[in-house]
Every structure is written in C-alpha cells, then in structure tokens.
C-alpha cells in the first residue's frame, strides 16, 4: 500500500466510527431524553399519560399522606397549579412539606403522577435550581427563598461523587 492509501484507510475508518457514533446518538436522542416540567406546564401542555418527564415544584404543605407498605402520596405545587404524585419507597432524607422537590415518572390515566424516583437536595436551605428557575419565571418566586438561599452561605448542597440529589429509586 502506498502512503496515500494507508492514510485513506485510516481516514475512512475514522469516518466510519464517527458515523456510527452519530447514528447512536441520534437514535438515543429520540427516546431517552427526559424533559423537565412544573405543574403549570403540565396543565398547559396536556402531557400524554405514560410519557416520562421530570416534575419539579414545592411539596404542598398538608398534602403528604402515608399509606401501607411505604406508599406515599403528596401534591407538587408551583403557585399556579397542583399535581398529585404517588410514590412507593423511601423518601430522601430532606424531603419536607413546603420544600422543593424533583420527581421522575409519568402521568397515569387518572392524571396522577406516578413517580419512580424522588430527588431532594441534601441541604435544608437549598432549592433545586430547576425548581427555582421555573418559579422565578412564573413570577411565584418569593423573596424568602432567596433570603434563605443567600443566608445559608453555601446553598448548593454537596454529597459525595454523583447525583447532586439524594435520590431514591
């Protein structure tokens, strides 16, 4: 083989691997991406049952009910709308009423959000960034959240390597 042929082989091989990677990525983008919504956005967009998304908001005070065998229901609110959430399992250490929460799952036919993962930050003063941004955007941001956040000089919580959020599956 000449130098040119060799180079062409290598370039051809590289292009093949790149094309493979691009195909894999495009394929994965179709159905493995999870979007973030607040209850208001869910109400506006009429999300179809069974479509997975992340729900963020504040746990409505007084809405937490514990059932048998670790079943829990609570409501997530963002000031504009509320959405009932059902979850089975152990809630994160810092799950509290009135605090920010992010849950991942899908709506069932009755419009209840069946969560399989609930995330809450490992710090009391912390508000999940997604939730805070969404609340600000909708004008429901209360100053005391901000005051809390800046008062707690290190708002963003820290855990070990990994998920920022204490996650529960």
């Amino acid at each position: 083989m000449t130098r040119k042929q060799r180079r062409m082989t290598i370039i051809g091989g590289s292009l093949a691997v790149l094309a493979l990677a691009a195909a894999l990525v495009l394929n994965a983008l179709r159905d493995s991406i999870v979007f973030f919504s607040t209850p208001t956005m869910v109400a506006e967009k009429h999300v179809a049952p069974g479509k997975r998304f992340r729900l963020g908001g504040l746990v409505q005070p007084g809405s937490l009910r514990r059932g048998d065998n670790l079943a829990v229901t609570f409501e997530v609110a963002d000031g504009g709308a509320k959405l009932p959430v059902a979850f089975k399992g152990i809630l994160p250490d810092l799950f509290r009423e009135g605090q920010g929460v992010v849950a991942e799952g899908a709506l069932d036919d009755n419009g209840v959000f069946k969560a399989d993962t609930v995330l809450a930050k490992h710090d009391e003063t912390y508000m999940p960034k997604d939730v805070a941004d969404a609340l600000k955007k909708q004008g429901h941001w209360k100053d005391d959240y901000g005051a809390q956040a800046s008062g707690g000089a290190k708002p963003a919580a820290t855990t070990a390597q990994g998920n920022s959020q204490g996650a529960v599956r």
């Binding site: 060799r6 290598i10 983008l29 973030f36 963003a156 855990t159 920022s164």
Partner: protein, 660 residues
C-alpha cells in the same frame, strides 16, 4: 495573622508565577542559560509559597478560627480533627486552593527532577505551567479568597455539609485533582513542543511517565468517588452519569487515549501531531470539568456555590487556554515532521483504533453533558440526559473497544498478522464463549445481553493472560525457560496486561451488579425478618447514640445465611443539629466480592422503620478493576525505561525501543 500570612503567600506565588511566565521564554529566545534557569527556582519557590498558603488554611481550620469566613461557613469546633482537615477542600475556595497547590506541586516536580530535560524545553514547559498557575491564582485572589475575615467573628461555625464528613473526602478530591491537574504537565509539554517547533520520540518518553502518573491518580480518584457515592448516598448507586462525574470521565478517556498514542510516538515516532492534539484536549477537558463543577452552571452536589462572577472568570480562563492552545496547534502542527509508516493492520493501527474509539466515546459523553445546557440556553427548555442515553451510545462504543483490546498487544509493530493473532486468541475466545454458556444456563432472569457481556469480560481477561503467556512462551517452552523469560519481561508488559485485565474485571462487576442485584424495601418492626438473596436479616432493635457533632439512630440487624449466624449490621441515620440536616450511613457486609447493603428510611410513630436492603453480587469487582488498572500503571511506571525523567537526551535517539 495566619490568615493574612496565607493570603500574602498566595499573592507572592502569583508574582513568582508571573515572572516564571515571561523570563524563561525571553531566556529561550536569547539563548541565555541563566534566564532560562530562572524557571527552575521560581517553580520551586512557588511550590513553597502555595504550600505555605495551603498549610495556613489547614491551620485555621484545625484551630477553628471562626473569624475567617471560610472556616466559619464550613467548620465546627466539635468536628473530629480529620474532618477539620479534610473540610479545607470541602468547599469552593479551599478546593481551588488545593487545585493550585497540586499544580504547583507538579511544576515543582518538573523543576526538581527535570535535570535531564534539554534546558530550553524545561524553560518552555515551566513557563506554560506558570501561565496556568497565574490564571488560577488570579481567580482565587479576585473571586474566591479563602482568607477573608469576618468583622464580628461568631463563636461557633456552621459546620461542614454532613455528607462530606466522611473518610472519602480525605481521599477522593486530592486523588482526582492529582489526576486532573497532572494532565497539565502533558499540556505544557505539548505547548512547549509547538512553541519550539521541535518534537521527537524522546519528547514522548518524557511526557509518558507524567501522563501515566496523572492517569493512575485519576483512575483511583474516579473509582474512589464512585465507591463513596455507593456507600454514602444510601441507595446503592455507584454511577449516575451526573455532569460532574462525566467531567472526570472525559479527561480519563482522553488521557487513556493519550497514554496509548504516546506509546506509538515513543516506539515508532508516528502519530506526533495527534499526540500533541490529545495532550491539549485532555487538559482542556480537565479545565472544562473545573468550569462545570465550579461555575454552578449545572445543579450538582459538587457545585458548592453559585456565584456568577466565578463562572464567567473560569469561562474566560477556559476560552483563553483552549482557544489559545488550539490556535497555536493549528498554526504550528503542519511544521512538525511526519513520522514512521505503518500498515492499517499493525500494533500502531490497533492503537489508532483504540484512540479513535476512546475519543469518540469521550465526544459522546461531552455531547450528553453539554446538550441539556445548550438546549436550556438556546431553546429555553429543561431536560436531563441520563443512563438510558449512555446505555444506547457509550456502551456500544465501549463494547467495540473491549472486543479489540486483546488483539492490540499481540499484533506486531509496523505490519501485523491478524489471522495469526486470531489463532493465538482462540483459547481466550473459547474461554469467553464457555463463560457465556455457563452464565446462560445458570442465571435466572435478567437481560439476555448480560451473559454475552460477561463472556466479553472473560475474553478481555483471558486475552491479557494470553499476551503474557505468548511473551513468556509458557506453553511452548520448558517451564524453567518460561519463568526466566517472565522475569526478564519488561514491567510495562506486565503493567499493560494487568490494566487490560482490570477492564474485564470491572465489566464483569458492572454487569453482575446491574443485572442480578436484589432489592428489598419495606417497613420493619422489632424482630421482623427480611429474606434477601438467601440471607435472613432480622431487626433486633433501634438505639439512640450521641456522636461528636450529631445524634444518630442505629438499627441493629442480625444477618444469617442458611441458619448460620454471620454478623451484626448497624446502619444508622445521623442528624446534624448545626445544619439541621441528616445523613444515612449504610451498613455493608462483604462476602467475597459480593455485598449485603442496608440503609434506613424514616421511622413512624408506631416504632417501625423503613428499611432498604440490597444484595449486590460481585459488586466489588467494579472497583477492583480500576485498582488493578492503576496497579498496572504503577508497574509500568516502575519500568526502568520509563522511570520519571529517566531518559538522557543524548542517548534517547539510539535507545529508541525496538518493536516488541
């Protein structure tokens, strides 16, 4: 007083770094040895002053001097001594100080042990190191000064985030930074080579040990972080594809590629331009990681504080270094001479394939990390890219890579014989297939891909064994001869075989854990028994206990297997009063490479407690693999030919290694 001294030392280090940035380059231009040697003294002095500054901060934390804001916000007088020390880098300012300390350490090491480097190369390398150092000293002094005082000192501190109060914090960040920052050396060497316009095989031999050191630490740092998350977060996950984890994985992938391409350059004087580019990219990814973690653009556990000015500052540093180095590369790369020729089927060809797959896998991770950020900024909607995405993209690419791994070391340099190598790998292939058959017949449930993946892991391990067997002639030759040859085998050969086997070990652990992990979640009351994977776990009772800066509730479990009592496990829930937050301390019982894992949830008024019990088969292999890889790296590093800074410039040309 100590705080001011620490601050002052940092300012002096900046001044030294600025001198080191310019004077040696002027010296190199004027061919003035004295000016070039300035780099050496300033690098060592910098290490001294940054070290002093770091020790000052440690002293402040140990003495619980709450008049310093950083100590007040992250420490507590009742905190155990270990966490007072590790708490130094458990916050933004302190971790940046650790970052520059390690940068200065590497600079100092080059200055101290780089005696056999050509003078002008050393001057250039240290000058580039000083550019990086200056930028980060400025960053710390302007936006994140750890020595700021509080006007009215409080009596008690706000305590360190409870999740960080763990031995993991003592090991994981320093290891990771030694890896991250260690790649700055290969970056500086690459920039120096571009500035000088000269690069040869000897260059690769100087760079490789440094890259290897950084790679070893990064490997261990990532593994340690993963194990820490596994036992600390309380739900048994060990990798989350969190942007911050990706930020450490990307330099690892690029760094692994760099190790291999530097090999080609050292042995065959080929792939020069590519090696230079990889050196630049690897450190750029380290910088990108620092930016992602420290700027607060992503919500993460590792993002300590979200101060926009910091983000902008690091972004500027990032653009300056990545943009600058890539422009320099574009301008100068063509002037570098092309190296040796090789056929596509050859050791070089295999290493090119390795590089290709590693960099493309790295690009996929980069895409997955940045895509949500870009979409949020451009299209204004939020999304998350998680495990499903990487399972569909990263996993297939890595599968291809693992299939190719055993072939590489068996191929000859320059022109290889694929058919011959396949024949020699027949035994390894059969071992893999037998493993597939056994696992298939034995396993109940789980993905059909799992036995195949385990077979692949066995193939990779058997391939590494084949490599050693072939080199020593264990089967062909009498045993005594083989033993003699094994002793004579370069340590780097053992090193690469071990590192490759480590890949297979980790793969087997990952597959077993994800496929046959059993989980039991329920509320339990006293004397309840849970049955998990053949183990009987009985709750004996709940106890309260007072720790130094927390209260904890301990649950005592008696574990037995087939009626035989094994052990008592005591997971707990700790409540830290100062921060009002709690952590879950999981209890682990190790049996071979498998683990039983118990963590606690909430208690109810009736005295029951939510409990999560996992049985994780062969889970420890996930971390033994990387440890094996790192050990392989250490063996390779101890190879006589590669000892840090070993080659003499005059002899380097003649000692170009013959193809093995």
């Amino acid at each position: 007083m100590i705080a001011e001294a620490g601050h002052y030392a940092l300012v002096l280090a900046l001044a030294l770094a600025l001198i080191q940035s310019i004077v040696p380059l002027v010296g190199a231009r004027l061919r003035d040895d004295a000016l070039m040697n300035v780099a050496r003294s300033t690098a060592l002095a910098q290490l001294l002053f940054v070290g002093a500054s770091f020790i000052a901060l440690v002293t402040l934390h140990v003495n619980s001097d709450f008049s310093v804001a950083n100590v007040y916000e992250n420490s507590h007088s009742m905190k155990p001594l270990l966490y007072k020390i590790t708490g130094v880098w458990g916050n933004h300012e302190g971790s940046m100080l650790l970052w520059v300390s390690i940068l200065a350490l590497f600079g100092g090491l080059v200055a101290a042990f780089g005696n056999n480097l050509p003078l002008s190369l050393r001057a250039h390398v240290l000058a580039v190191q000083a550019w990086i150092a200056s930028a980060f000293y400025l960053f710390i002094l302007v936006t994140s000064n750890p020595f700021l005082r509080i006007a009215n000192p409080p009596i008690e501190g706000r305590d360190l985030n409870p999740v960080l109060q763990d031995i993991g914090l003592a090991v994981h960040p320093p290891m990771l930074y030694l890896g991250y920052v260690g790649f700055s050396i290969s970056f500086s060497f690459a920039i120096a080579a571009l500035l000088e316009g000269r690069i040869d095989a000897a260059w690769a031999r100087w760079v490789r040990p440094w890259t290897l050191v950084a790679w070893i630490f990064l490997t261990l740092g990532i593994a340690m972080g993963s194990y820490w998350a596994y036992y600390e977060l309380g739900w048994g996950g060990w990798w989350f594809w969190d942007p911050v984890e990706n930020a450490s994985l990307m330099p690892w992938l690029a760094g692994t590629a760099l190790l291999h391409s530097a090999l080609v350059m050292e042995k065959r004087n080929a792939l020069k331009v590519w090696t230079i580019l990889l050196s630049i990219l690897t450190f750029s990814l380290s910088l990108l990681g620092t930016f992602l973690v420290r700027s607060g653009v992503i919500t993460s556990v590792h993002a300590f504080a979200t101060d926009p000015t910091r983000g902008v500052f690091i972004l500027l540093i990032l653009c300056l270094f990545i943009g600058g180095s890539l422009s320099l590369f574009a301008a100068r790369a063509t002037s570098l001479k092309q190296g040796g020729l090789f056929a596509p089927i050859s050791r070089e060809g295999a290493l090119v394939l390795n590089n290709l797959l590693l960099t493309v896998a790295c690009a996929v991770v980069l895409f997955g990390t940045l895509y949500p950020l870009a979409m949020e900024m451009l299209a204004d909607f939020k999304m998350s890219v998680g495990a499903p995405f990487y399972n569909l993209t990263f996993a297939p690419l890595f599968t291809l890579l693992l299939l190719a791994v055993p072939f590489g070391p068996l191929l000859a340099w320059k022109r290889g014989d694929l058919l011959g190598v396949t024949q020699r790998l027949l035994a390894a292939g059969v071992a893999g297939l037998v493993a597939v058959a056994i696992v298939w017949g034995w396993a109940r449930g789980g993905s059909a891909l799992a036995p195949l993946a385990i077979g692949l892991g066995i193939f990779v391990i058997a391939g590494a064994v084949t490599d050693i067997v072939e080199r020593t002639g264990l089967v062909r030759l009498p045993f005594a001869t083989a033993l003699h040859r094994a002793r004579g085998l370069p340590r780097s050969a053992w090193g690469s075989a071990l590192a490759h086997a480590g890949l297979g070990v980790a793969l087997i652990g990952i597959v077993c854990e994800t496929t046959w992990n059993s989980e039991y979640i329920a509320t339990m009351k006293q004397n309840d028994v849970a049955h998990v994977a053949g183990y009987d776990v009985k709750l004996d009772g709940l106890f309260q206990r007072q720790g130094p800066n927390y209260r904890e509730m301990i649950a005592e479990f008696n574990v037995s297997h087939d009626g035989e009592a094994l052990s008592v496990m005591t997971p707990s829930k700790r409540n830290f009063t100062t921060r009002g937050s709690s952590t879950t301390e999981a209890a682990l019982l190790t049996r071979g490479a498998s683990q039983l894992y118990i963590s606690l949830g909430d208690t109810t008024a009736e005295g029951t407690i939510a409990v999560r019990i996992y049985h994780k088969p062969l889970v420890l292999l996930i971390w033994w693999g990387p440890v094996l890889m790192a050990f392989g790296g250490v063996l390779s590093l101890s190879d006589r030919r590669l000892r840090v800074g070993a080659p003499k410039p005059a002899r380097a040309k003649q000692r170009l290694q013959p193809a093995e």
